[in-house]
């Protein structure tokens, strides 16, 4: 096949037809999210008001909200469009890169031992069943498709509606990572790094630090490493569990996590928090950008959307997170918490948890 090269730091699909098809879906998704969702929210809220329901009562059962929303004609159409665009996007992305599967795998193998950074894979590592889900409908999820790194990379181009083609969003978030009060940033961890977009951006912001990315998915950290090698960025990647990290006590200054916690079962979260506290040195910070949780007021349309997303976009753990007292869990784990800097993504909460 003709090598179609890259779009900056993003790989191109293997054919123009794939690129055009996925461009269409990117624009389609943008309309469904930025135009149709507000219209659906307005229609649903209007139906709730017609039914004599308040819009600011957080104790209102979800089923009551859903019953009112179901009366609005736009609702099932929005649901169908959301599901189908996501399915079509993964189907075509996987199909495109599967055409060059052998070359993709060869590249991962060839760069495995290359520097400047290291890749650490433990052959005896057992992926827990909870992590082996097709999160966001991605075929094989983060763990079971050997080319899931490149598939995730291009699939999330569509997911972010073109707003992260050159890792712009990861650059913004890395710039918002909160350093410890004494400013010492010798060793940084990107927890749940997937393909290392944030890890690389953390290195760009803190070039003198030793930066690590950790993720449960072997194919994604292998791709993350290959990509860092290609870009010549000195960052390290390791496949491991966030709740059982192969790092020394007190060995990191800050830890950074972007949308990790809603993708793990609620019972695993306290174990992750305990292990992050363990590997942070006293005064170390944990910068978290994450889905909203129980401590925040959510309009009914957001509650409707999050529930829909959980059940229809393979987010099996997000509801557990959204209705949990995450701030309380952080305090129970021994962190002092404060509100972190806001990002352009309004939906995300930002927390800085500090180890005393």
């Amino acid at each position: 096949m003709t090598d179609r090269g890259n779009l900056g730091v993003l790989p191109r699909t293997t054919t123009l037809a794939d690129e055009s098809y996925l461009d269409f879906l990117e624009s389609f998704r943008d309309v469904v999210l930025t135009k149709m969702f507000p219209a659906m929210a307005a229609a649903g809220h209007a139906r709730m008001q017609q039914d004599g329901l308040p819009l600011d009562d957080d104790s209102l059962p979800l089923e009551t909200i859903q019953a009112s929303f179901a009366k609005a004609a736009i609702v099932p159409t929005w649901q169908r469009f959301m599901r189908s665009q996501q399915e079509m996007s993964w189907r075509r992305t996987r199909q495109s890169f599967a055409r060059t599967m052998d070359a993709q795998l060869k590249l991962l193998e060839e760069t495995e031992k290359a520097g400047p950074g290291k890749l650490v894979i433990d052959p005896a590592f057992d992926v827990p069943a909870y992590a082996r889900r097709e999160i966001h409908l991605q075929p094989g999820g983060y763990t079971d498709d050997p080319i899931s790194g490149i598939v995730y990379h291009y699939g999330t181009k569509v997911f972010y509606q073109g707003g992260n083609d050159q890792d712009e969003m990861h650059a913004e978030l890395a710039g918002l990572a909160t350093p410890p009060a004494d400013g010492k940033m010798d060793r940084i961890l990107d927890l749940g790094c997937t393909i290392g977009q944030g890890t690389i951006q953390l290195k760009q912001h803190f070039p003198d630090a030793e930066v690590w990315g950790l993720d449960v998915g072997e194919p994604v950290v292998r791709y993350a490493h290959a990509r860092a090698v290609k870009l010549g960025v000195d960052v390290n990647f390791r496949q491991a569990l966030a709740e059982d990290m192969p790092f020394e006590d007190g060995s990191f200054d800050p830890v950074f996590a972007y949308i990790l916690f809603h993708e793990v079962p609620i019972e695993v979260i306290p174990r992750i928090l305990a292990d992050v506290r363990r590997i942070l040195r006293p005064g170390g910070t944990f910068s978290i950008f994450e889905f909203p949780s129980a401590s925040q007021h959510l309009p009914p349309a957001y509650r409707f959307m999050i529930d829909y997303d959980s059940h229809n976009n393979c987010e099996p753990y997000s509801l557990g997170f959204v209705y949990a007292d995450f701030h309380g869990m952080l305090k129970d784990a021994g962190f002092a918490i404060s509100e972190g800097p806001r990002s352009r993504n309004d939906f995300l909460q930002s927390i800085v948890a500090t180890k005393p």
Binding site: L16, A17, S20, Y21, D23, F24, L25, F28, V75, P76, T77, Q79, R80, F81, R83, S84, Q85, E87, M88, W90, R91, R94, D126, V127, P128, A129, R132, R133, E134, L137, P139, G140, T143, D144, D145, H311, N312, C314
Partner: protein
């Protein structure tokens, strides 16, 4: 990978029946078909635009040549196979959910 914890079939989420949102299944299938069709229309328009630009840069008047073109049997067979693949994709939604869950296992 762990033998006690076998991997699910890759792509199960996007190839199984999947969730539905309307009382009338035909609406589900029509909307899915509409999206496939729209994606295909855009893909063709995009390719056509690229093609015409590329040809123009080579001094070729594609519009006239296309009208004058007469395909041979091999080309016809190739085009038929591509067309059939497209139609199958366009209609996949109707086959995927041919009746209510209660009627079809």
């Amino acid at each position: 990978m762990n033998a006690d914890n076998p991997a699910p079939a890759i792509g199960e989420e996007i190839s199984s029946r999947g969730p539905t949102y309307f009382d009338n299944l035909v609406l589900e299938n029509l909307l899915e078909s509409f999206m496939e069709l729209a994606a295909e229309v855009w893909t063709i328009r995009d390719r056509q635009a690229v093609l015409e630009t590329v040809l123009k840069s080579q001094g070729i008047d594609a519009a006239t040549l296309i009208e004058q073109h007469r395909p041979d049997d091999a080309e016809l067979a190739t085009r038929k196979a591509l067309r059939e693949e497209f139609v199958a994709r366009l209609l996949a939604g109707f086959l995927r959910r041919s009746d209510s869950k209660e009627t079809i296992a």
